[in-house]
Symmetry: C2
Subunit: 155 residues, 2 copies
DNA sequence: GCTACTGCCTACAGCCACTGTAGGTTCAAT
DNA sequence: ATTGAACCTACAGTGGCTGTAGGCAGTAGC
């Protein structure tokens, strides 16, 4: 590929729709090291760097964590090997997304029920507070399924 | 309510299925201040404290952020006022959950398509990498809908 | 060559909701 | 009086950025 490195960090960031700091963060994480620096120390990116960044950005939009993207980039460099590992990463990620959807749907149903049952009276009679205060009023046993109740909030 | 404060932090944490540090964190956040301390400085929680913690835990399981829970607790203390504000918080949260579900479903569809189209050959021909490398191959324009591409990863 | 200005540099703090660690103190039982 | 578990405070780390402070590099006009 071309070894000319002409893009500044600001130009590349603008092109990718990312912040300049994000590119520096990716560099720190080992995802994208600029192919050159000026004598004064400023980063210069080549067209190959730009393609690599677009791959990274797209993978992030797909929700792949940075660690997975690092793996994907490493595997992508070994063109002759079978792509089973890449598929496995993608499949695992899809399954994780499905799991989150499942959890969120249960949550949505509970929230919906809670909201729709509230008659709109005074706070002392509020159905929302009642449900939040008493676990028995829930249909689902959220926070006991899966590994961490923590997941529900992130998801 | 009872003003006897007999539970240690470890006992209450165990009862609620939370870590001791989490209770101290909630205290720092102003959600749950123990109603007493021993002369030696150890926290002691009353039955009212325990009820408050169970409310907090349950609200967290519902995915309410700590700031919202602080509001809910404040509103819950004003029994005579109308519960419209509480309903609004719950409804807003439900809508946010719905939004995340929508985004995740689009994501899942893309991931699924990507995975199912891969023929299982070599890395150079991998459909997964191809899609990640070229935005044009996507059906959805993720990362351009909503405010931040950042959302997709959190969700 | 000088100045002004923008954009770049490093290093570090902050976000959220915890979790984990280090180093020391208190409590209850023996 | 001594042990040992549980407690205390204070701080660092998680992920994926974002924002700030204080200074240097590069370019355009004079």
């Amino acid at each position: 590929m071309s070894t000319t490195a002409e893009l500044t960090i600001g130009q590349l960031a603008g092109q990718a729709g990312l912040h300049v700091q994000t590119l520096r963060y990716y560099e720190g994480e080992g995802l994208l090291v600029p192919s050159a620096r000026t004598p004064g120390g400023q980063r210069r990116y080549s067209a190959a760097d730009a393609r690599r960044l677009h791959f990274i950005r797209h993978a992030r939009e797909f929700g792949f964590p940075v660690d997975r993207i690092r793996e994907l980039l490493a595997l992508a460099g070994e063109g002759e090997r079978p792509c089973a590992e890449i598929d496995a990463i993608a499949r695992r990620h899809r399954d994780e997304v499905r799991r989150r959807i499942r959890l969120l749907r249960e949550l949505e149903a509970e929230l919906d029920r809670m909201v729709s049952e509230c008659a709109g009276g005074r706070v002392t009679d509020c159905r929302v507070l009642e449900v939040l205060g008493d676990h028995e009023l829930c249909r689902a046993d959220h926070g006991h399924s899966e590994e961490g109740g923590h997941e529900a909030s992130r998801a």
